[in-house]
Amino acid sequence: MLRSTEIPSPEERVKNYPHEMSGGMRQRSMIAMALACEPALLIADEPSTALDVTVQAQVLKLMKELCRERETAILLITHDMGVVARMCQRVAVMYAGRVVEYTDVHTLFSRPAHPYAEALLRSLPRLGTKRNRLDSIEGQPPQLNRLPPGCAFEPRCQYSSERCREQAPELKRLREGHEVRCYYPINGGGR
């Protein structure tokens, strides 16, 4: 298993304790451990967040290749939209404890339907595009013990109405394979 995760001289390394390894090698060992019993599903919770960007690229590549060979599905939990774009086929966007949009990765990035997903994508600094200002989402994320009665994103949403304040929307099907929790979805979804 250690060899399959490309840890150099695995025969020696297998005797090491975690503190004798670098962050990248520890995460490789975790992947080896998780895949050892050939699971059908791997849940990866921010697997590369603590790593440097070149080591992250190595670990993500490794995860992708190993899981493809073994036909293991991955539930990848991350805050990094770049990692989503690199790794995923389908995406569920969460806000304040709820899925607000659920679709394939290409639709999410080209035609996001939920105002939060759209604003989040616009607020990212992007390499190679010189801009004077970033679009940002005003306000703060809500406190989970004091959620408003309506839509949790309503206080920060530029499209909100009375209806959003009073009752939280359900997750509704917009088209095949695309669901969104919003009364006023963007991009040809009825507005």
């Binding site: 440097d52 080591v55 770049g82 989503v84 690199r86 600094p125 390499l127 679009d135 940002s136 989402i137």
Partner: protein
């Protein structure tokens, strides 16, 4: 590097930490650069490459092993303690972790007044100045009576920026000021930083590991690898026509928020992990991971060479 003198001039900067008699950690090992007045220089690199150490050396928060730092033509190493304290009014820092860098037992008002007291500035007008600073960074005047734990990370970072501005500095070192913040908050603070940069006519050294953040905020970028600058260029140039193999790996490693690009990219090719800065080998620091290395790279260390206007690269293979 001729042109006009910079506000900050750094030459041959080295910082070695002796770990034991035979083990020396070379955190910064021969760094030269200049920051021109009104400019933002971005310092980008992975953890442990020496970015933070460079920032602290410039502010004289750490003694240097060798080299020279000039601020507005004055060598910092020649200043006495009291001269240095006066000089500090002109150079301030914003730290990475706003929870750790603001005293939890002081009110926001006292936190912002403190640097003015130390410098003996704004006597009798400090309260007004605190109100002005708070409002300028997007907070309310009434926040001065509250304590740090009552605020979120983004708000605390705004306060950290206000504190740095309290004494009207000319130069700011911003050490990963947005890396502990959520994405949606990060863009708010970056915008604020950019506005203040112009309004206060600041010159800045902006340190971050996230290249897209550095590119947004900086006029020029220096890429640091294991205590050395490997490439330095105007930010637009660095993205489009980079030369150093490490800069190229770094750029291809960054996951871009675009599945069309990401899912058609060739698999990431850089192998291995960074060489240890403890007793590093004699040649190029990137040697062990480099795909274009030659004989010479193992023995000699390349120097920064100009390859285009304002564009410097330290690599034997591109000359």
């Amino acid at each position: 590097m001729n042109e006009s003198r910079g506000l900050v001039e750094v030459r041959g900067l080295c910082k070695y930490f002796p770990l034991s008699r035979r083990r020396i950690l070379k955190a910064v090992d021969g760094v030269d650069f200049r920051i021109r007045r009104g400019e933002v220089l971005g310092l980008v690199g992975e953890s442990g490459c020496g970015k933070t150490t460079i920032g602290r050396l410039i502010l004289n928060l750490l003694p240097l092993t060798s080299g020279e730092i000039e601020f507005d033509g004055v060598r910092l190493s020649e200043l006495s303690r009291s001269e240095m304290r006066r000089m500090r009014r002109r150079m301030q820092i914003v730290f990475q972790d706003p929870y750790a860098s603001l005293n939890p037992r002081m009110t926001i008002g006292n936190i912002l007044t403190f640097p003015m007291k130390v410098q003996g500035l704004y006597r009798g007008k400090r309260r007004e100045r605190v109100v002005y600073l708070l409002e300028r960074v997007g907070m309310r005047a009434s926040d001065m009576n509250r304590y740090p734990h009552e605020f979120s990370g983004g708000q605390l970072q705004r306060i950290g920026i206000a504190r740095a501005l309290a004494v009207d500095p000319e130069f700011i070192v911003a050490d990963e000021p947005v890396s502990s913040l959520d994405v949606s908050i990060q863009s708010q603070v970056l915008n604020l930083f950019k506005e203040l940069q112009e309004e206060f006519h600041l010159t800045s050294l902006f340190i971050a590991h996230d290249l897209s953040v550095v590119e947004f905020i900086s006029d020029r970028i220096a890429v640091v690898y294991l205590g050395k600058i490997v490439e330095m260029a105007p930010s637009r140039v660095l993205y489009k026509s980079n030369w150093h193999p490490y800069t190229r790996s770094l750029l291809s490693a960054i996951p871009l928020p675009d599945p069309k690009i990401e899912q058609n990219k060739p698999p990431f090719s850089l192998t291995g992990e960074a060489t240890s800065p403890i007793n590093p080998p004699p040649g190029c620091r990137f040697y062990s991971r480099c795909s274009v290395k030659g004989e010479r790279c193992k023995e000699d260390q390349p120097q920064l060479v100009e390859v285009g206007k304002d564009h410097y690269v330290s690599c034997f293979q591109v000359n």
